[in-house]
Structure formats: structure tokens, C-alpha cells
């Protein structure tokens, strides 16, 4: 789960709208005409993958900047298998459209994450978030664990809790990740070109563990 930079605002109209709501201290409505603008802008920032599991969510062509005009997302069929997730469900009631609290995630993950309490320690866009310091990847088993260099058991427990909440090691995710990396490393072994368009963090960590360079 890599760090996500959400500073590139393409859906300007949405941002103006939500900033005004916040400025006026108005409770956010739960419905908005800006849903697609938000989802596609987030996906643009997330490189088209689930913010937590890094499973692919849409055709990369949908994320081209050409699809934004006058601050709105204009592509007619923004098809994605992702859904809007409110990282901290507590904020959903009053700050439904708060940019910093939103991510696009796989529908099945969103459903399972539900309204569980969260810990910012694994919030992908938080300032100090560094996956390489917090997580380690067992590339043979395709499982993320709290970094073994962290000795404080309380911190390890916080990380493990969020691994569970965000379902990073969920079986179908683990299976898809394992198959993808196996295919990628097999292609590399056969000097075939590889296209890494998902599971970025696991790939980088597996690469490091194998002592290879990108």
C-alpha cells in the first residue's frame, strides 16, 4: 500500500463546491452531482488501483487528463469496479465529501471494511506515511506483515489492526497479488517486458527482497 499524493486536483468544480461547504460550515449532503468527478480524480491520484489492496479498478485510459474539461470529469462512461470509501467512517455524517477522507477502493473491500474504527498509522495519504518503514512483504507467501524492525509491540499491533481493517491480506487479494507477481517475475526471468500497473508496493518490496533492481 504505497503513499498516495492527493494534491493534484483535476475536479476543480467539486473542490470549489466542497471548500465552500466547509467555509460556510454546512453539513455535506450525501448525494452530489460530483460523484464521478471525485471518484475519477481519486483514481487518477491512485494510479487506477484500489487505495489499500492495489488491485486494478479501471481502464487506465479513463484517467487521462483529457477527460477533464473546465474542472469537470466529462468522459461519458467512467466504468470502475471501485467505490468511494470514507477512510474514517465517523466523518461520513457531516463531512461526507471531505477530500482528505476519501479513497476509491474495491467494492468487496469497502463492504468488508464497513464502519470499523480506523487508525491513521496506515492512512495512505497521511504526511508521515512510509510503507517501507511500517510494512514488510513476505514475497514467497504474498503476505504483508508489520515491519519486523519495529520492536514496540503496541505499534506492531496498530499496524496489524489496520492490515486487517483494510483487508490487505484478504485471501482473494493475496491470491491475485501472488499470481500477478509470479507472472511478472517469470517474464523478467525470460527477459520479457513487464508492465507494472498494480500491486506496486508488493512488487517493489519483492524486488528488494530478491536483491534486484527495477
Amino acid at each position: 500500500m504505497r503513499k498516495i499524493d492527493k494534491t493534484n486536483i483535476l475536479s476543480v468544480k467539486y473542490k470549489e463546491w466542497v471548500d465552500k461547504l466547509n467555509h460556510d460550515e454546512v453539513e455535506h449532503p450525501h448525494r452530489s452531482a460530483y460523484y464521478d468527478d471525485v471518484v475519477m480524480n481519486l483514481l487518477h491520484c491512485q494510479k487506477g488501483v484500489c487505495a489499500y489492496t492495489e488491485m486494478p479498478l479501471c481502464n487506465p485510459g479513463l484517467l487521462s487528463k483529457k477527460n477533464w474539461k473546465n474542472g469537470r470529469y466529462v468522459h461519458k462512461s467512467p466504468e470502475t469496479i471501485g467505490e468511494l470509501d470514507h477512510f474514517d467512517p465517523q466523518l461520513k455524517k457531516n463531512k461526507y465529501w471531505e477530500w482528505q477522507n476519501l479513497f476509491v477502493v474495491l467494492e468487496r473491500i469497502n463492504r468488508r471494511k464497513g464502519a470499523k474504527e480506523v487508525d491513521d498509522i496506515l492512512k495512505p495519504d497521511s504526511l508521515g506515511y512510509d510503507p517501507t518503514a511500517l510494512l514488510e512483504y513476505n514475497e514467497k507467501r504474498n503476505i504483508f506483515i508489520p515491519h519486523t524492525g519495529i520492536e514496540d509491540e503496541a505499534v506492531r499491533a496498530r499496524i496489524q489492526y489496520m492490515i486487517d481493517v483494510l483487508h490487505i491480506n484478504f485471501d482473494f487479494v493475496k491470491g491475485a497479488r501472488g499470481r500477478f507477481l509470479k507472472k511478472v517475475f517469470k517474464s523478467r526471468d525470460m527477459d520479457q517486458p513487464v508492465d507494472i500497473d498494480c500491486f506496486f508496493t508488493a512488487y517493489q518490496m519483492a524486488l528488494s527482497a530478491k536483491g534486484k533492481k527495477e
Binding site: 513476505n138 507467501r141 508489520p146 492490515i163 484478504f170 485471501d171 491470491g175
Partner: protein, 463 residues
């Protein structure tokens, strides 16, 4: 008789279900009706309902409107289309009657439609066979339902005197979901019973020669030889109907449970003539009361298919895996299909092993929408329906892959397994690091290795 397409619009959870039941492009039978179909889907998604609808449709039962009532507001159109091999007909609600009626479209007169169907049925002589999850045999203590077979036959007879002579003839609808099917079973087992009775009679005549009070030993011997020759000739001219059934179909499956069909008959079996007898592989008879549920299921499905010799039937089998151990499930679909060549099978299943017997285009997955309000067909191909566009090929997958990819089971095991896997992944990384530092032989290292071994065995991990 085969079904090519089913369209259900507005019936129960099927708001807009359109199922193409033909082979895809690129297939040698492209455009022709599928010969076997596997319906999968969550509990409650409507698999059994779909089989029930098919039963009503295929039997062209005019009572369908009395059995499927739709309390719909006027104007809320309901269409249920079924396209048989070359006949297309539809049921739809008429505003005055909030239930279904046949509708024959495009200007065709009612009588012309039924004449067309009647001629088709006369020529094709189709059959409908329905095996529900619980097969009723009339002797297994099940309660009789509201509709029973005799009622059905009576209705059919009544209809035959009416202008609507299109219905399947009595005996051509074999429904093991209805209460009293003794008559049906007697018909099915008649051939076996007659053969057994004749064989028993001839054997008795041979045996009786020894008991005769008259005649010399030489005469008795001569008479015995004559009768034995007659018996052998009769046996050649009248092959035992159980022989092929046992050797080609039932015994290979029963072998998995240490049983086979008993074919030798003797005087002690006089009361059980016409029934299928089983014995252990060692020859010990196994009374029917001791058959397992799975064994009963095997016999109760294969015997009718074998005896009825359906060649142009629609055969509905709900949960073919019911009570069957996995190794028997592997071969059951292939056995059914061999028993009724030229027929169209509809199976509804929850078993990945059953699903592995099907080509990808034969799988119909019923799925709830996100809000769990309606059911749609989840397509397993992208773009056009072409053999090359399918994502998964069940016949080539492992059972667990089928569970994950086709049944979309999200977990590979229980919660304890996931926790153990995470712990094991951590232990493995710690061992690797200690090894790199040359500290694996320390007490801490040895403890970790021991922990790894124990956990690995529990989760069945390869080292």
C-alpha cells in the same frame, strides 16, 4: 427438444434476465442449443425457481397461470419468453388477470400456434424429466404433496379431450418432485422385473428337474441339459437390462463406495423382483434400508435415465452433488450425459467439482445486484460471446480455483487460518534475517524454526 433462450422480465427477483442458451461463436455448434447447462449462484438467487419455471414451460402446461401468480399493478408488464428449438412462445400478464397466460405473437392464431406445437411434439416425441434435490420414490416415507403424479396424469387426460392436445403425453413428463410416483417407478422398473421373473422361472424349471419323482437319472440329465440350453439361448436373445446399466454406468460410480449392482438372482429374491439390488465388492448383499443417501440418489437418477432411454428430453437435475462424496461427483455429470444422448440437461449446483464438468459457456451464474434487490446473469466473457473471450475454463482449473474464480469465494479458509498465515509469514522473515546474520543456531533462532515447523504443518505450507 431443446431450449435456446430464456427471457424473464419482471418475474420475482428476475427483473431483466436474458439467458442465451446456444453455443458461442467460434464453436463448431455455434448457434445451436447447449446440450448441458450448469446454473450456479448464491442461495436464494433463483436456481431452483428457474428449474421449476422450465418445467412448466417445457411441459407447456396451461395451468402455469394458476401456479405462478403475479400480484402486479396493471401496466407493469411481465414477459417470460422461452425459445424452444424452433418454436418461440411467451407468457405474459394480461391486465385483467394478474397472472400469466400464454401469448403467441406476430399475428398467429391461437389454434395455429397449438397446431404447430402439437405437430412439433408429435414429430419429436419429447420428454421432460425432473429430478429435485429430494427424489420421491413412493417408498421412502416422504409426505405426499398437494400435487401428485396421479393428479397430473388426470389433468393431462382431461386436457387431451380438449382442443389443446399439445401437451406432453402421460408418461412423457416424469417428475420425481411429486408425491405418488409409484406408477412411474413401476413403469421404469417393468423391464427389469419382467426379465428377472422370466430368468427366475427358467432357473426354477432347471432346479425342479432334480426334485422330480419320475424319470431316470439319465433322463433327468438330458432334460436338464435341454432346459439349460434353452435358458442360455433365451439369455442371449434377451440381454439382462441390468448388465449394461451396471457395467457401463452404475458400477464404476458405486466402486467408490465399495458396492456394485447385484445381478445374480435366486429364489430368495422373489419378493424384491423389479428392484435394484446392491452388494459389496465381496459379494455380500446390502439391503436397501442400509443404502446411504448418496447411493440411493445414484440409483434413483441413473435407473430412470437408463430405462426411459430419453433421446430428445429436457432433463432437470437440482443439486446433482446432493449427498455424493467428491470422488463420485467428479464423474456423475459425464455419466448422466452418456445415459441420455441428444437430450438437454439443466443442472443447478453449489459444487465446484460439478462445475468442473462444464465448458465455460455452459455455466449460467445468477447473481444478486449490489443492493440485493434483483438477480442478473453474470457473464463470464468480455465483448462478443465467442469461445476465445471467456475468462475461465472450469475443466482446466483446480477445485479451489473454481471456488475462487467462478463461485467468487473470497476466502481460502477460516479466520484462524489467515491469522496463522500472517504469523507464519512474520516468522519466516525473522528466520531469514537471523540466517543472514549467522544467528540461526542461537536459542532464539531454534525457537523460531520450531515455531515455523509447527505452524507450517497446521496450515499445510510447503517449506
Amino acid at each position: 427438444m431443446k431450449i435456446k433462450r430464456i427471457e424473464l422480465k419482471g418475474y420475482n427477483q428476475f427483473k431483466d434476465l436474458d439467458i442465451d442458451l446456444t453455443y458461442p461463436q467460434g464453436h463448431e455448434k455455434a448457434g445451436k442449443p447447449l446440450e448441458k447447462i450448469c446454473i450456479i449462484g448464491q442461495s436464494g438467487s433463483g436456481k431452483t425457481s428457474l428449474l421449476r419455471l422450465l418445467k412448466w414451460f417445457v411441459s407447456l402446461n396451461r395451468d402455469i397461470g394458476n401456479n405462478i401468480r403475479l400480484p402486479l399493478p396493471p401496466g407493469n408488464a411481465v414477459k417470460m419468453d422461452v425459445q424452444l428449438f424452433d418454436i418461440h412462445y411467451r407468457l405474459s400478464n394480461i391486465e385483467e388477470f394478474p397472472h400469466l397466460r400464454f401469448q403467441w405473437g406476430n399475428g398467429m392464431e391461437e389454434l395455429d400456434f397449438f397446431k404447430l406445437v402439437g405437430d412439433y411434439y408429435k414429430e419429436m416425441n419429447p420428454m421432460l424429466i425432473n429430478f429435485p434435490t429430494e427424489i420421491i420414490t413412493g417408498d421412502n416415507g416422504q409426505e405426499t404433496g398437494g400435487l401428485d403424479a396421479l393428479d397430473e396424469f388426470e389433468k393431462i387426460k382431461a386436457v387431451q379431450t380438449s382442443p389443446y392436445k399439445y401437451k406432453l403425453k402421460p408418461g412423457r413428463i416424469i417428475d420425481f418432485a411429486v408425491g405418488d410416483v409409484k406408477e412411474t417407478w413401476e413403469t421404469i422398473l417393468k423391464g427389469i422385473k419382467e426379465h428377472q421373473a422370466q430368468e427366475l422361472l427358467m432357473k426354477k424349471k432347471i432346479a425342479d428337474i432334480e426334485l422330480q419323482e419320475y424319470g431316470t437319472a439319465e433322463e433327468k440329465s438330458k432334460e436338464k441339459k435341454k432346459k439349460t440350453a434353452e435358458y442360455k439361448k433365451w439369455s442371449v436373445q434377451n440381454p439382462d437390462p441390468l448388465k449394461a446399466l451396471a457395467e457401463q454406468y452404475l458400477d464404476p460410480l458405486l466402486f467408490n463406495v465399495g458396492l456394485k449392482v447385484r445381478r445374480e438372482i435366486d429364489q430368495g429374491m422373489i419378493r424384491s423382483l423389479g428392484s435394484i439390488q446392491l452388494q459389496t465388492l465381496g459379494g455380500q448383499g446390502v439391503p436397501r434400508t442400509f443404502w446411504s443417501t448418496g447411493t440411493r440418489r445414484l440409483v434413483e437418477t441413473t435407473v430412470p435415465l437408463y430405462q426411459l432411454e430419453p433421446k430428445n428430453a429436457v432433463i432437470l437435475i437440482d443439486e446433482p452433488e446432493h449427498s455424493l462424496y467428491p470422488d463420485i461427483q467428479k464423474g456423475i455429470i459425464e455419466t448422466y450425459v452418456r445415459l441420455a444422448p441428444g437430450s438437454q440437461f439443466f443442472f443447478a449446483t453449489h459444487s465446484p467439482i460439478i462445475a468442473a464438468s462444464f465448458e465455460p459457456w455452459e455455466i449460467i451464474e445468477l447473481k444478486f445486484d449490489r443492493d440485493h434487490e434483483y438477480v442478473y446473469r453474470d457473464l463470464h466473457y468480455e465483448g462478443k460471446n465467442h469461445v476465445d473471450h471467456y475468462k475461465y475454463y472450469p475443466e482446466y482449473l483446480r477445485w479451489d480455483s473454481i471456488l475462487e474464480r467462478i463461485f467468487e469465494l473470497e476466502e481460502e479458509g477460516g479466520k484462524k487460518r489467515l491469522k496463522a498465515l500472517e504469523k507464519l509469514a512474520e516468522v519466516e522473515i525473522r528466520i531469514k534475517k537471523l540466517k543472514e546474520k549467522g544467528q540461526l543456531n542461537t536459542p532464539a533462532g531454534k525457537k523460531l524454526v520450531e515455531e515455523f515447523k509447527v505452524l507450517s504443518q497446521k496450515v499445510d505450507w510447503e517449506y
